[in-house]
Structures are given as C-alpha cells and as structure tokens.
C-alpha cells in the first residue's frame, strides 16, 4: 500500500516538525507506561513474595483450630497464639516414614515488637522461600551457645544491632518492662541476609533457650532469674506452637493431612501452606487492585493529555492540512494522517516507557534486593504486561481519533483555503 506508506511518512515528518510540543506528550505517555508497568511488576513481585514466604514446605501443623489463623501465626507471626501442640507429638510426626524433615517453632516472646521464634538447627538448613531459596547468613552463625540469637535482616537494620550485641527479650506481645527476661540476656551470633519474607522481621533462638528463660514463669509470676546449672537438664520443651513439615514425596501430602486432621490422639490441624497463603492474599489484595486502578487513572490522564494536545495543535496545522487537501488529499486521508500521528505518539511513548522501566529495574534491582529482599527479575514482559501495553496503545489510538475526527470535519468545512 504505497498510499499508506506515503501517509505514514507525512505523519512522521509532520510530527518531527512539531517535535518540541509532541515530546511532552510522548513523555507523559512514557511516564504513564512506566508507572503502570512498574506497579504491575511490583504487584506481581509483592504477591510472589507473600505467597512464596515459605516454599518447599508441604504441611503446617498446629493445635486444632482455624487453618488460616495457624498459617498467619506460624508463617507471618501475625495474630494471637493458638493452643500449643505437644513436643512429643511433634517428635512422633517427625518419625513418620513419609516425612523428610520437620522444623518445630515456638512463638510468644518479642523484642521491641519483633517476634521471637524459637526453633532448631533444621530451620537454618531446610527452610526455603521464593521457589526454593535457602537462608543465608550475612554474618556470623546459627546459635551455638544457649543464649545466642540470630537476627532477621530488617531487625538488625532498624535496631542497629551487630554481631555480639546483647539484647533482652520481652514476654508476650508488648514491650512491658515488667515482663522482660532481663536476667538472661542474649548475644547476637548471626545476621541473616535479606529475604523479603517475614524472616527479615524475626529473631531466632533455640527451643532450649526459650524453655530456659521461662523456667521460673510457670505460675505466671514474674520470677526472672538467671539460669542455674542444675536446671540445664530440664530444658527440653514440652510444647511448641507449630511444626513445619517437608515430605519425601509431595504426592503423599493429602493422605498425611487427612491422617493428622482425623487421626486419634492429640487434636491437630494440618494445613497446606500454599493454599492458605493464596486465600490470605485474596483477602489483602484489595489494596493491590486499588493501586492498579490508580495507575490506570494516571494512564487515562496521560491519554487525555494526548488528545488535548493534538486538539490544541490543530489550529496551527489548519493551513498545512488545507494545502494537502488542495494538492489532492481527501478528508479521509486527513483522518488517517491524524490517526497515524496518534499511533506514532502512543507507540513511541509506550516504547520509551518500556525502556525506562527496564532501565529502572536494572538500576534498582540490586539495591532493592540488598536492602529490602525484594527481588525484581529482569524478565521479558509477562503476558499480563503485554496486555497492559496493548491496552495503552489501543486506548491512546482511540484518544487520538477524537482530534482526527475534528480535523476531518474541519477539512470538510475549510475546503482548500483557510481564511486567517
């Protein structure tokens, strides 16, 4: 179609001739695109971070109760404690032939509002997040002495702790000075690298240490005392909050879940964490959608700007269009010319936006991963992102049809000359 090639050339040359004004439109479209894609990428990332807070775990087991509450508490350390489960039961579960490993966790204490998690060495070895990433020590090592504590990245960063810092844990959720375990201070032995999961906001001690600081709290009375040597043998815990279980074969998960949920003995709840976390995400994702709506609105504003700027520029193009008409262009040609200009602007705007978002990702990804554990992968746009881009281009093209129709009517009424 030689005719359309010629119209396209005319549209490009005309746009280049007015590049000063049009650059602003291209920039505003690029900005909208960057924002929309950026939010979409971040949203996908946050969702992934959330849903992938644990990976490689097949079951979360706790005392019988609400499964969502169990996952919220065991994985995100949110909400209040459910009942405990017996440590003997946990040990028995670990012996089952289907089970590859178990990670016991015990919650309840805090330090400056960060949750304290008591667990064992299996945690550092077997815990996985984000599609199978292992925990990594940025500095130091897992607890070796009884009162060693390992800090999540954000805890260390926001409280300014280093290896060797002495810290005191608080009993329960509040930082109540009356309920401090000040007789048995802990020493920071290790700092975990950022993960972008609740691990970053937690402190990790051993199950025995948890037992030790509560030895004299049996009656609910505050009898905080230093640990004495004769008590060292009494440190095996009687109860834990939850047990995280990895199986040898994933296919066995439903059978084991049913066995635990319905079996005799201690009443327990076994939850598939992936399913529960997707359910929780659905509940909190309202905010995510609001974010998307806002960026969509920004895009609409950008495109309205496109239409407005082209409309405003029509006045100065009246003569040019009339000249083309007198040299044989039909009003439909004028319509095409304007529509092509809109397409050109939208395409270069979204193209520029795409370049900017990837440049930003490349620049910021190391920083975000280092400091916030947010991993933004430099992958090609997903199908959802392509759809967004297509939507921007299409709606931009539609927006440019408005001034195109105006130009069409104008060229009909102006005829071949413009009386200026």
């Amino acid at each position: 179609m030689g005719h359309f090639t010629y119209l396209w050339q005319l549209a490009c040359k005309s746009a280049w001739n007015r590049r000063g004004t049009l650059l602003l439109i291209v920039l505003s479209i690029a900005l909208s695109t960057t924002l929309l894609l950026g939010i979409e990428k971040l949203r996908a990332q946050v969702r992934d971070n959330f849903v992938q807070a644990v990976s490689g775990l097949d079951l979360v087991i706790g005392a019988r109760g609400s499964s969502l509450q169990l996952v919220l508490y065991a994985v995100f350390h949110l909400g209040s404690a459910t009942n405990n489960m017996g440590y003997d039961t946990a040990k028995a579960l670990a012996q089952k032939p289907q089970v590859a490993f178990t990670i016991p966790i015990s919650l309840g204490d805090t330090h400056r509002d960060f949750p304290v998690v008591a667990t064992n060495a299996v945690f550092y070895e077997k815990f996985r997040y984000r599609h199978g990433l292992a925990l990594r020590m940025a500095e130091g090592h897992a607890p070796e002495a009884l009162f060693d504590v390992v800090l999540g990245a954000e805890v260390a960063r926001s409280l300014g702790y280093q290896l060797g810092s002495k810290i005191v844990l608080s009993h329960g959720q509040s930082g109540n000075a009356q309920a401090e375990h000040s007789a048995n201070p802990f020493t920071v032995s290790g700092l975990l690298a950022p993960t972008g999961t609740p691990v970053d906001r937690s402190l990790y001690i051993s199950l025995e240490a948890m037992e030790a600081i509560h030895l004299n709290w049996q009656n609910g009375l505050h009898q905080d005392q230093p640990l004495v040597a004769e008590n060292l043998t009494k440190l095996e815990p009687r109860a834990i909050t939850a047990l995280l279980v990895g199986l040898k074969k994933r296919s066995q998960v439903f059978a084991l879940q049913r066995e635990i949920n319905e079996g005799p003995g201690e009443p327990l709840t076994a939850v598939l964490p992936g399913v529960a976390m997707n359910q929780i995400w659905e509940m909190v994702s309202v905010g995510e959608q609001a974010l998307l709506v806002i960026s969509a609105l920004v895009t609409v504003v950008g495109l309205a700007g496109l239409a407005a700027a082209i409309l405003a520029g029509l006045g100065e193009r009246r003569r040019e269009l009339a000249v083309l008409r007198s040299a044989g262009a039909s009003p439909v040609d004028i319509l095409w010319l304007m529509a092509m200009e809109g397409l050109l602007l939208v395409l270069s705007g979204t193209g520029l936006g795409l370049v900017v978002i990837y440049a930003l990702l490349a620049l910021c990804a190391p920083f975000l991963a280092e400091h916030y554990g947010v991993f933004l992968a430099l992958t090609a746009p997903s199908s959802g992102e392509w759809l967004l881009l297509l939507a921007i281009c299409l709606s931009g093209f539609c927006a440019s049809l408005l001034p195109a129709c105006k130009a069409y009517r104008m060229s009909l009424s102006d005829g071949l000359t413009v009386s200026v």
Partner: protein, 244 residues
C-alpha cells in the same frame, strides 16, 4: 451520466456553468446567480472583481468543495453533481491544480517533495507525470528549472524561500501530472509589483506549453493585459452581494 446532445457540446469545454445559483445556508439571498459561464479547454481566462463579489464561492463550486443550490456545473465534461463527495475529491486531485495567494507549501517537506504531493494522492496524476520524464524526481526538477528555481534551493526548507520562490514551487506542484485545469486564486497578491508580471508570464508560458486551461482570479486588472480573455464577476453574476 446523461450526456446526450448537450453533454457533447460541453465535451470541448474545460468549465461550463448553466443557471447556477448558490445560497449559503441561512442566508436570505443568493451569493451567486450565474446564468452561463464557460471556458474552453486550454483557454486562459482572467476573472476580476472586487473582494466580496463571490469569487471564492465560484472557485469553491468549480473545485467541487461547494455544491450549487441549483443549476449544473461541468468540469472537463463531467457533471460534478453526479460524483459523490469522495468522487469529487478524486476528480479534483486528478484534473485540477491549485495556486493560492500564500501558504501554499507544506513546511516540513522539501521543495521537490512539495512539488510531488499530487502524484502521491492521485495515481492518475502520477502516471501522467511519469510519462513526462524518466522518473518523478526528474520531472519535478524539470518543472522547477523551467520556473527559474535554482537547483541550490531545492534541498532547502521551504520556509527559507522568498514568497516569490514559494509561489513558483506552488506553480510547479499545480502543473505536475498535466492537470487539464489550473485555478489560481490571487497568486500574485503577496508579491512585489515588479515580480508579479514575471511570475504571471512564467505561469502563462507553462500553461500554454502544457495545454492547460487557466482560471486566474485577481482584483488587479493591470494583470489582465496578458490574458486573451477577461471576465468581470459583476458581468456574469446577477446576484450582487457582499461576501468574504
């Protein structure tokens, strides 16, 4: 087409107006009332008249931009009324070249590109132009040379050209592809007095050598001397109205 006897009579005419009336919507009076006006093929006619005598309306009717309230207009033997508006657009592109008082050129195109615009919108003009020389660029170059535009100007942005040079580029564009009719609407009004005659002679020369009919509209009757025939608007238009 209903072209019996009267149609054949008009075959030899470039323009034929019969009982044409035109009234703007909402206006109480006719702007134009022309019982008869015609121009032979290849004829060069000077139309004079003060501003507001309906000149622009007449040109709009002949160009097919406006439709007469009543009456018949034939251009090259074709009744414009029988063509749709798209058909009139095409017909205009194929058979009529235009030169206006000023702002004839597209600012972002080069001189040669400006000359070649009609060839891109009308395949008919393009075919004819291609027969005039080896290729389109060469035909444009030939026309520009004949119109006394030096080669050094061709690659310059058109806005750096003087008005006289711009009008000659517009001439070349109107002439390319051998349209049968050129409508020139006050093409010399923006020029200096001494340049007017020179421009006019170049235009007349080219129209004569191409056999193109020229309808030249101006309020400056001094220029009429160069034309074999002069028509006053007030002589052909029975409606006398002020119009812009």
């Amino acid at each position: 087409m209903q072209q019996a006897s009267e149609g054949q009579e008009h075959e030899t005419l470039a323009i034929a107006l019969e009982n044409v009336r035109f009234r703007w919507p909402g206006s109480p009076r006719d702007t134009l009332d022309i019982p008869h006006f015609s121009m032979s093929r290849g004829e060069r006619v000077f139309v004079s008249g003060p501003s507001g005598c309906g000149k622009s309306t007449l040109l709009g009717l002949i160009a097919g931009i406006l439709s007469p309230t009543s009456g018949q207009i034939l251009v090259q033997g074709t009744d414009l009324d029988e063509l749709g508006s798209a058909g009139r657009d095409r017909f205009r592109g194929e058979h009529i070249g235009f030169i206006f008082q000023q702002f004839n050129l597209v600012p972002y195109l080069s001189v040669v590109e400006n000359v070649l615009i009609p060839c891109h919108f009308s395949p008919f003009r393009r075919k004819r132009a291609e027969k005039q020389g080896a290729n389109l660029d060469e035909v444009a170059a030939m026309l520009l040379q004949r119109l006394d535009l030096e080669k050094t100007l061709w690659s310059k942005p058109v806005r750096t050209l003087s008005i006289g040079q711009q009008q000659r580029v517009a001439c070349a564009r109107a002439l390319i592809g051998l349209p049968e009719l050129i409508i020139a609407d006050e093409p010399t009004s923006a020029l200096d007095a001494d340049r007017r005659v020179a421009f006019l002679h170049l235009l007349l020369e080219e129209c004569t050598s191409q056999g193109t009919a020229l309808l030249f509209v101006s309020h400056d009757e001094l220029l009429a001397e160069a034309f074999p025939r002069m028509v006053r608007m007030q002589d052909i238009n029975r409606a006398s109205v002020e119009e812009g």
